[in-house]
């Protein structure tokens, strides 16, 4: 039976204070590497590494850092941040990524999904959707042709950046109305996460990582309505992200949200909770998880 994956997420930020000091990339490895070594030694199911400033800084993915990290990492690795071109995907895979996560480019130039899937296979293209509950009720939505222009076969035309909030018409989903954001959650798109997920699937994406922006880092639980809306809309695996703070939250994302995998950052970094204990808990509650009973890897 296919196991539900428990996935730590490491957000990797090019901190301003460090940038500008010589050998800044080495400093960044210095912080990422210990975390990766720990998760590697504990044989986690997968790891997701997201550079959350590359796109905003107009930078390509940092292949060198991935090349430095990947030899220490025998865990399946998904890498995101700054991917805009198929060449970026190719170089990340060569540097040691097993999969790539695409967020901003999935909205601005979705052809990258199709080209990436054709060239490298759907299985390595993860579309990462960051969504926020919009501050309006479904009945307040104003009809607009913008979203209906989104077809399953044509490219998404990104809305103008000065989005007129009154004309925003994200699709109602669950109890709320959600809107996708790009550029690390800073830029609204006028797109609903369900529309974006369905489109990404039709372009050949292999997985969707869906993250609730307002829950992320709060450890108050996943946005289950958001996750469920995506798992019901697509037939590819969905990774739940944003908000996990307890093992019970992981369970809810799987059982209520329908997620194939549960991603979490803060709960593993700021609490005593571990991916291994998470799997013990899930297993006791009847969720199939991988139990590694062999000795850990020494590197």
């Amino acid at each position: 039976m296919l196991k539900t994956r428990v996935i730590p997420v490491l957000l990797w930020k090019d901190v301003t204070l460090i940038k500008g000091i010589g050998f800044d990339s080495w400093r960044r490895i210095g912080t990422l590497m210990p975390a990766i070594k720990v998760f590697n030694a504990r044989c986690v199911d997968e790891l997701i590494l997201l550079n959350i400033t590359a796109t905003n800084d107009g930078l390509p993915p940092d292949y060198e850092i991935i090349s430095e990290l990947s030899p220490e990492c025998f865990v399946p690795l998904t890498v995101g941040g700054g991917i805009r071109e198929v060449e970026h995907i190719r170089r990340l895979l060569l540097a040691g990524a097993d999969k790539v996560a695409i967020n901003t480019a999935a909205v601005e130039c979705p052809e990258i999904i199709r080209e990436g899937a054709e060239r490298f296979g759907s299985q390595c293209i993860v579309v990462s959707i960051d969504a926020r509950r919009a501050h309006m009720e479904p009945d307040e939505t104003v009809s607009s042709s913008r979203l209906t222009d989104v077809s399953l076969t044509g490219p998404i035309v990104p809305p103008p950046l000065n989005t007129d909030r009154q004309s925003f018409r994200a699709q109602p989903s669950g109890k709320g109305v959600y809107e996708c954001y790009t550029h690390s959650g800073t830029r609204p798109t006028g797109l609903s996460p369900v529309d974006l997920a369905v489109q990404a699937e039709s372009y050949g994406a292999g997985e969707i990582l869906v993250t609730s922006i307002e829950r992320d880092g709060t450890m108050t639980g996943y946005d289950l309505d958001l996750i469920k809306s995506i798992t019901e809309a697509v037939k590819i695996p969905v990774i739940a992200g944003g908000g996990a703070g307890s093992y019970e939250h992981l369970y809810q994302a799987i059982v209520t949200g329908g997620a194939s995998a549960v991603a979490a950052g803060a709960m593993y970094q700021f609490t005593e909770q571990t991916p291994l204990a998470a799997k013990d808990y899930l297993s006791q509650r009847g969720i199939p998880v991988r139990r590694s009973n062999l000795k850990p890897i020494h590197t």
């Binding site: 196991k3 199911d45 990947s70 490298f120 292999g206 890897i297």
Partner: protein, 207 residues
């Protein structure tokens, strides 16, 4: 021992290299089929589409060189796309010829239940169906152990009685390990399957 990892421009060679080094063997990553002459084992890795991989192997002269090397008895392990390329034909990206080293074809996985999602991503159990599996590749690895998969297509051996070594229960069950003589293919990624994956690689290298 000199393990040659074929570099045909597809996928993550670094993790395969590191995993083999962890197993204590010397690794040579090569794009030159002539290097097969000095190899004791060969690994065909790969992430990508069948069409692309098939074309690259042909263009770079690997097909004939591999057939000659295997006739000499050189052990070969194909991983993921590398396993699929051992087949006669694949349908990903149009019908394309594979290496023809193990009779069979590569077809898209078809869900057998509404809840089944494709691609098949994650850890799933591998069950031997042949004593060849337990005697050659799975020594020290219990039946039903989880390995890491990430794929949408699977190998269908033409002669399962002869060449199907292990199966995995997804989409009604698919071939997760095939073998013919000293040629083996795993649909999962041993280099990403942590201790059990390394054990499998060590078993292969002891051939």
């Amino acid at each position: 021992m000199n393990v040659l990892v074929i570099d045909y421009g597809m996928g993550n060679l670094g993790s395969v290299r590191r995993a083999i080094e962890e197993c204590g063997a010397a690794v040579q990553i090569s794009g030159n089929p002539d290097d097969l002459n000095s190899a004791t084992h060969v690994i065909l890795p790969g992430v990508g589409s069948f069409a692309d991989g098939s074309a690259r192997l042909r263009e770079r002269g690997w097909r004939d060189a591999l057939h000659r090397a295997i006739d000499r008895g050189l052990p070969l392990l194909g991983i993921c796309l590398g396993m699929q390329l051992l087949a006669d034909i694949g349908e990903e990206g149009g019908e394309n010829p594979g290496l023809g080293l193990i009779p069979g074809e590569v077809r898209r996985l078809v869900p057998d239940h509404p809840d089944v999602r494709i691609p098949h991503v994650g850890w799933n159990d591998v069950h031997y169906v042949s004593s060849i599996a337990s005697e050659k590749l799975f020594m020290g690895i219990p039946d039903g152990t989880d390995f890491y998969f990430v794929h949408s297509f699977a190998f269908r051996p033409s002669d399962p009685a002869a060449h199907l070594l292990a199966t995995t229960p997804y989409c009604g069950g698919f071939a997760s390990v095939v073998g013919r003589g000293a040629v083996f293919g795993t649909q999962f990624h041993p280099e990403k399957s942590q201790p059990v994956g390394f054990q499998l690689l060590r078993n292969f290298l002891s051939q």
